[in-house]
Symmetry: C2
Subunit: 175 residues, 2 copies
């Protein structure tokens, strides 16, 4: 296992600042662009990350610690955030995400998890038995994945403007 | 054409802060991880971005403005940065990139490019005729692509630690 809690925290703590650096103050031409019908804009992604802070990672970790495999996780609505984010400004979403992430990491650290705790198991509604370490590794990779999604979505805006260089630009799905 | 210079500058100006947010102070376990032999670590990517600031974007734009299609671009060594970055710390690379980007954007803005200028053409050694607008759009997408590469490379560290969630995590190349 490569995962360690201190190592994961290096990433989880940075995500609010990373989203601020990429998105804060960005005009709507960039922040609300999507990859096409049914896909998410950068703003939608921040809404989704907020939804995860509220209903996914720490609540599921708590279920593992309190109930083990006896109580399956509440299914996470992976499409929910889009309505939530419609009438909230990007600036407010970034502030909300930062506050929720800080609160959740404070909770996580307050548990003083041991290697034994990280090996504890819960029941995923689809996957069955999963460990707390897998949940926390997923939280970390999920952050990085959505950062990549945001910049990929933005890059696609110039997908034709780059002309023949498109062949070198893997982010446009052609390299 | 979606590209506009003010719009591209929103992205180009942000990249130093984005790289700082993702990488500054990160331990080597994250900053020097690669996707396997022959692939780049986050540190290598910053070295590559520095090389682009020094030899690619602004020098090529200058060739277009000064010589048009008459003088083909100097080929850009897309693999060069790896040696450069070996004996320089990540912190120093981030500082260097920030300074080079600031200087290059100051140069770009000093040219006060008109729509007519953006339509001016140069000769790419491989692609033939390209426009200044295509070059600048490519600079922008290139930034976003390498930000995505950095977070993808980091995410892969936990590729097996996430257990069955791997199926949901597109950044791991499986979703």
């Amino acid at each position: 296992m490569t995962f360690s809690l201190p190592s994961a925290l290096h990433i989880l703590r940075r995500t609010p600042a990373t989203l601020d650096a990429i998105l804060a103050g960005l005009p709507e031409e960039w922040s609300t662009v999507t990859e096409g019908p049914g896909t998410w804009s950068p703003v939608d992604v921040v809404g989704h990350l907020i939804h995860g802070e509220e209903t996914d990672w720490i609540p599921r970790a708590r279920i593992i610690l309190e109930s083990g495999e006896a109580r399956p996780f509440t299914p996470f609505d992976r499409v929910a955030p889009r309505e939530t984010s419609c009438d909230t400004t990007l600036a407010q979403l970034l502030v909300d995400f930062r506050a929720l992430r800080a609160r959740n990491l404070a909770t996580l650290e307050s548990w003083r998890l041991t290697p034994g705790d990280l090996a504890r198991t819960g029941t995923h509604p689809e996957f069955g038995t999963v460990t707390l370490a897998q949940l926390l590794a997923t939280w970390t990779v999920h952050d990085l994945g959505h950062i990549a999604q945001i910049v990929r979505t933005m890059a696609a805006r110039y997908g034709t403007d780059v002309g023949p260089w498109r062949a070198y630009l893997r982010i446009l799905g052609t390299g």
